[in-house]
């Protein structure tokens, strides 16, 4: 039984402007699953819908065998699903410590111990607890964002392009962290922007124009022309769909 199951999901930003058209996808326990696709394919919309920020126009989302299709984000996070958006993913005027505290908003009591666990993943945050998150570099902000997402000890972590805008050395570090988090037992749904990110995953879905066009084991998927196109341009296909 999968942990998260999405059936025939359509969603968008207003009546009759669906971005997603009947998507079905499932995430198994402990898995690192990637969703790839060109800009505008609906990857972010998918994560926003699963996390409850957007309500689907049709379809069904099941989390731990419970129908959460029309749940709000406040309820979904309490069920152990945490979402780290791609941008606007921190509270800029709050300190690092306060950002992490807000991550644990739904939990009662002192979260000092949990914070220590976050520092073991992102040691750089420990010395910057009092710093305003908005004044940090892009990479550090990303650590704050992911750290915030981990505060509730989620079973599922939705990560939207966690390496977007990072310099190459940080991209590798962040991907290592994603692997580390997954190894700790967190199931990860990763929107992968780069080939390295895709290679982290065991399975992947290729999303295009709001529909799933390919899915399967990552090692097999990588060989597909459509996936090659996405990362290397249209050189390998004759029609050349382009990016």
């Amino acid at each position: 039984m999968s942990l998260l199951e999405i059936e025939n999901l359509s969603a968008g930003y207003g009546p009759e402007v669906d971005v997603l058209h009947g998507i079905s996808l499932d995430l198994n326990e402990g898995e690192l699953l990637a969703v790839v696709g060109p800009n505008g394919a609906g990857k972010t919309t998918l994560l926003r819908t699963v996390s409850g920020v957007l309500h689907p126009s049709s379809g069904r989302i099941t989390l731990k065998e419970k129908d959460i299709t029309n749940y709000g984000p406040e309820e979904i996070i309490k069920m152990g699903l945490s979402f780290v958006p791609q941008d606007q993913h921190i509270f800029p005027s709050l300190t690092v410590k306060e950002n992490l505290e807000m991550g644990a908003y739904t939990l009662k009591g002192d979260q000092g111990e949990r914070m220590e666990e976050i520092f073991s993943i992102f040691p750089q945050l420990q010395s910057r607890l009092g710093q305003q998150a908005g004044s940090m570099s892009g990479g550090q902000q990303q650590m704050v964002a992911v750290g915030r997402g981990l505060m509730i000890q989620p079973e599922i972590l939705l990560l939207d392009e966690p390496t977007a805008g990072l310099q190459p050395s940080l991209v590798k570090m962040m991907l290592d962290k994603v692997r580390e988090i997954n190894k700790l037992g967190v199931s990860v749904l990763l929107v992968a922007q780069t080939l390295e990110a895709l290679e982290l995953s065991e399975r992947a879905y290729l999303l295009s124009a709001g529909e799933i066009v390919l899915s399967g084991k990552t090692e097999e998927l990588i060989e597909e022309d459509k996936v090659q196109d996405l990362y290397f341009g249209s050189s390998r296909t004759e029609e050349g769909e382009g990016r």
């Binding site: 920020v53 709000g72 509270f91 005027s93 709050l94 306060e98 807000m102 991550g103 908003y105 915030r148």
Partner: protein, 309 residues
């Protein structure tokens, strides 16, 4: 000059209390609360009501009021906040859920302002009222500064309340959640913050502060149904000068407006008096606020502490 400056600080501390509420509501609920001034008046009048039904508990040494004022003020702050929450439920919440624009919300708040003012006129009448008619001897200080004991209380109470709000926003879980929601509402919801609860707390804090400001103004000056409407402009200007959404901006903006209004009109009054020109400059205090607002909007539209977001 120095005395005018001190008067400005007193007025400024009252404006600050109003401005903190306006800035919180503007930041979290995304509209300028045009009812803020009339909630200011309502708080002052509710205090008058409670003072009328309380027995005489005496006065604090040197002040024109006693413990009854403190109890009445706290009750009035609570009731004014309760009224605001009532209007949020029946008016602002439904509008929010329909995704109403800031303009719609502000115009609805204007309607709420008229409701508060009509209640005041209906219940207490249009005439001027006082908490106390006792005369107070001002203490004299160097440089021609005169301060009444009540005025020490006003500034002290205002700063105490600012400190309480600061500590609430900085130290408590709800305070941090309010700041988080003002930073990024969607992320706040994703994080599990109950944004409706944040809205309720915003109203409670903002409105009880403006009610407190109205009460302090009533102690310093007098009670008139239009008092809050008249001070709304300086309050808005203080928010804009300080930068919308910034607590320290509200404090500094409030002080700047208070001092500028008193100093400029006072200095000009002395000048016109010397020239034998018959003009009452105190009527031009709102003009000072407007001029300041225009200057800030031209030079630094995000305000002194604004981030320009």
């Amino acid at each position: 000059m120095a005395d005018l400056f001190v008067n400005g600080i007193i007025l400024g501390s009252i404006i600050t209390l109003g401005a903190i509420g306006v800035t919180l509501i503007a930041d979290i609920l995304n509209f300028f609360n045009f009812a803020h001034g009339d909630m200011f008046s309502f708080g002052a009048y509710m205090t008058l009501f409670f003072l009328g039904i309380f027995p005489n508990w005496g006065t604090f040494p040197g002040l024109t009021f006693g413990p009854a004022m403190i109890v009445a003020a706290l009750l009035a702050m609570g009731i004014t906040a309760a009224f605001a929450l009532f209007f949020d439920r029946i008016l602002f919440k439904p509008l929010r859920e329909r995704g109403a624009s800031s303009l719609f919300l502000a115009l609805s708040a204007l309607g709420v302002a008229f409701i508060f003012r009509s209640i005041i006129r209906l219940v207490w009448g249009p005439q001027v009222q006082y908490y106390s008619r006792a005369l107070q001897m001002a203490k004299r200080f160097p440089m021609g500064i005169t301060i009444k004991p009540d005025e020490f209380f006003i500034v002290g109470a205002a700063f105490f309340l600012v400190l309480v709000v600061y500590l609430f926003l900085k130290r408590t879980k709800m305070g941090k959640a309010m700041r988080a929601a003002s930073d990024n509402e969607t992320l706040a919801r994703v994080t599990g913050i109950d944004t409706e609860k944040v809205v309720i707390w915003t109203w409670i804090i903002a409105v009880s502060l403006t009610a407190a400001a109205g009460i302090l103004y009533g102690i310093e000056v007098q009670l008139r149904p239009i008092m809050g409407w008249n001070i709304l402009i300086p309050i808005f200007v203080a928010v804009i000068v300080g930068g919308v959404g910034n607590l320290w901006g509200a404090l500094v903006g409030g002080m700047i407006i208070g001092v500028a209004q008193e100093l400029l009109t006072g200095v000009l009054q002395n000048m016109f008096n010397a020239m034998n020109v018959d003009v009452l400059m105190s009527a031009y205090k709102p003009a000072v606020a407007f001029v300041l607002m225009i200057i800030v909007l031209l030079v630094r539209p995000e305000g002194i502490f604004g981030t320009g977001e």
